[in-house]
Amino acid sequence: MKLHRTVLFLAAAVLPVALSGQVQGLDPILLGKPAVDGWPTYHGDYSGRRYSTLNQITTSNIKSLSLAWIYRANPSLDGPNVGGEYKSGDPYYWGGPPDGVTFKATPLMVNGIIYISAPDHAYAVDARTGREIWHYAWRTRGGIHIGNRGMAMYGSWLFFETPDCYLVSLDAATGKERWHKEIADVRQQYFCTPAPIIIGKQVITGIGGDSLDVQGYLESYEPESGTLLWRWYTTPQNKGEAGSETWPNQYAMTHGGGMTWQPPTYDPELNLIYVSTGNPNPVFAPQSRKGDNLFTCSIVALNADTGKMVWYFQTSPHDTHDWDSTEVNVLVDGEFNGARRKMLVQASRNGYFFVLDRANGQHLLTAPLTDFLNWSLGVNAKGQPIPNPAKDATIDGVLVSPGSSTNWPPPSFSPQTGLLYVGTQQSYALHYLTDVDERPEGYGGGAVAPGGGGRESFLKAIDYKTGRVKWRRALTQGGAMGLLSTAGGVLFGSDGSGNFVAYDAANGNPLWHAGLHANPANGPSTFMLDGRQFVVVGAGDSLYAFTLAR
């Protein structure tokens, strides 16, 4: 297995994305290298860097970037390709069909075809023309229809998750369904948004749902048949297991949350999957879960073959603020304190920035991500923030900052500049405890920020070696945003006000923008097609493609 992987990994360096002789095919070993002729997985490659080596579009010629096409999603729930377990007259559990399409997914692009999903929908679109090739609609049983982050591709098969938590596999050429399989129970308030990730001959799937105290897990499925290969629970199943000492009892930890809705990143050489887990449950009412609540709000490395935990680092011990740590674990190779290291960096929702050695989980750096931050009393010897219990929600309310500092929208790391780019915000909110039962359930409280809570938003460029902000750009709207950096020195992002913006990656100066009909809601992507570099971004129900005018 190890030899096989290494050989294929080396081969990836010299092969284009497509397997020769296979019309629609994609070999998963190609996901370990920055993509050039396509965008074959959620982040473009396994690293989560969202950095493209393409340099046809540069800071010098960006003014010539022009609209190539717009694809507006077909919102119909009918058509030739329809699936789903919903039967007419059934109740909807915790949600129902969407009344439109919003693209939060990063589209795949393989062999000139874009594949993108949205809640209850999947599409194939011609990357040259923006014309729809096929559409697949899913009749939902329910689930919160908040978003869908995209598809995965193995050979000529596509995979995506539905809000009612089915893993669906489609034939890429036709959009016909191959099979679907329930991966979580929507009736228990699970709902599913992640993009699956292909690793070897595995489809890695995460889940979501923190409304009713269910348990998080990450799973691996065999792509041909949909057979479950392994499952890793984010919280311990039984007393005595690792981490169980951080929970008062088994009932608390098996209802302790820790969702896995961020697609993981992966290091093929170390064969480690990097998972970032969500907040513990009950969310704002922690009286029944005293302790650190491992492995919620953690960065966890799993062996990709077995799903067994190799190391962990908890970024928010005993979170009480609904700050999932499910931000992207970005894999960075470079120098740290004079030594070359394989690192993992995360700009976390709790207002801190972390750098770890990703081989062994050794902590290297913790730095504040935001200017004001009152929920923590500082950082402990292990580099973890120390929660301030006085800022746990109370009946009469406590004022908590920095709010949700960043979120799932993907940041970007450029090896060219050594900077991590991330959309951030800082604000104050009143945190109220509403469930005072000794056995609280669900959220048990909430955060209220009328008028925005003094919100300030910044696009920031962070030097991973120090955690210092090299530059930042104030935004009047928004905060977390999807970002893409390129070898052309360009940083693609948005401004929260409906503009798709190209910034100078070196200093944050805006160089180019296009006002779209809605604010970009996904991560931009780029690829070469017929000798032209395209940049694609999703806004509302549409995909926009740009390329240099000729």
């Binding site: 909807y92 949600g95 129902g96 439109g100 399409v101 919003t102 229809h145 908040i146 978003g147 129970d185 009736r187 228990q188 308030q189 948004t193 979501g208 923190d210 409304s211 009713l212 105290d213 009932y251 809705w261 907040n279 609904d322 999932d324 109370t394 009946i395 009469d396 309310g397 949700s404 799932w408 104050y428 909110a429 009143l430 109220y432 405890l433 005072v436 039962d437 056995r439 359930e441 669900g442 955060a447 920020a449 009328p450 008028g451 925005g452 809570g453 003094g454 300030e456 938003s457 750009r473 009047t476 905060g479 977390a480 401004d495 929260g496 503009n499 913006v501 604010n519 809601a521 509302g540």
Partner: protein, 291 residues
């Protein structure tokens, strides 16, 4: 509290610390509730209150002694938590619950419910599904009694350290506010200065006479100045509503036109970093007392 803070934009228009605030509340959990959210079918279920009330009677007589009066179980109770019960969650209209109570359960040690009518089981199911929904759906949550502060200390803060009396008066704009608004709304106004606008369900951009609205003065290359309510400001354009109610916009080129933003609520924002939670609770108790 609305002492004017004027911030001239820098060369690149970067520093806008007192500029307009985003319209919505928090970005929420679950990966970006907020921009682009698609609510779909209304998620809040409506329950038949008469059925709930009948269900409570059956529950009290037959269930509470083992499952606790709340149905959540606990150390002192032999029965499991029914709110997180997979059987209850997977039940549709009492069918699975009835099947268990009458057929499946008795063999597994659950008391036999053969004497309970189907109608009573349907009422029990309605009660349980309501309580599950109340636990799971944040929109149902009720803020409890938040008036815990000392109104005298709040009054002192209002007239002293907080500087609230520079803009507000107990006998002027705040007269009778405690009779008009719920305490939680008042506490929200204290920390924000406004109830927020433009967010989900909000009525849209501020009215021309909204004294809390962020304003901008645009100085054109000709020297002419235009002042109005700031509707939109990006690196590339600015839009205001002028005194006549008309929307006016300009493209920006670096520092031209010159834009000066004033937020009358800046005083509220400045206090966010200075308040103790006790200050807020005391202020709330004081303002709530202004009936």
């Amino acid at each position: 509290m609305s002492r004017l803070i004027v911030v001239a934009l820098g060369l690149l228009g970067v520093v806008i610390t007192s500029a307009q605030q985003p319209p919505s509340t928090s970005q929420g959990g679950r990966g970006g509730r907020g921009a682009g959210e698609n609510p779909g079918v209304a998620r809040l279920r409506v329950f038949d209150q008469a059925a709930v009330d009948r269900g409570k009677i059956v529950f009290g007589a037959r269930c509470a002694s083992c499952h606790s009066p709340s149905g959540r179980g606990g150390a002192a109770f032999s029965g499991p938590d029914l709110i997180r019960s997979v059987l209850v969650l997977q039940d549709a209209n009492g069918k699975e619950i009835g099947q268990y109570l009458k057929i499946g359960g008795p063999g597994k040690g659950h008391p036999d419910f053969h004497d309970v009518t189907d109608a009573q089981i349907a009422d029990l199911a309605t009660l349980l599904h309501r309580d599950v929904t109340y636990a799971a759906e944040r929109a149902n949550y009720q803020v409890l009694n938040i008036v815990t502060g000392d109104p005298k200390a709040g009054e002192a803060y209002f007239n002293g350290a907080g500087g609230c009396n520079t803009c507000h008066s107990a006998t002027g704009d705040l007269r009778g506010i405690g009779a008009r608004l719920a305490p939680a709304a008042i506490q929200g106004l204290i920390v924000s200065g406004s109830a927020g606008r433009g967010g989900r369900g909000a009525p849209g951009p501020p009215a021309t006479n909204d004294r809390g609205a962020t304003r901008a003065t645009i100085t054109l290359p000709s020297g002419e100045t235009v002042t109005g309510i700031l509707l939109r400001l990006t690196d590339f354009d600015v839009t205001i509503r002028d005194a006549s109610g008309a929307s006016r916009s300009w493209l920006r080129d670096g520092n031209s036109p010159k834009i000066t933003v004033t937020n009358p609520l800046q005083g509220h924002i400045d206090l966010l970093a200075k308040y103790t939670d006790a200050d807020i609770h005391n202020l709330t108790a004081y303002v709530v007392s202004l009936k």
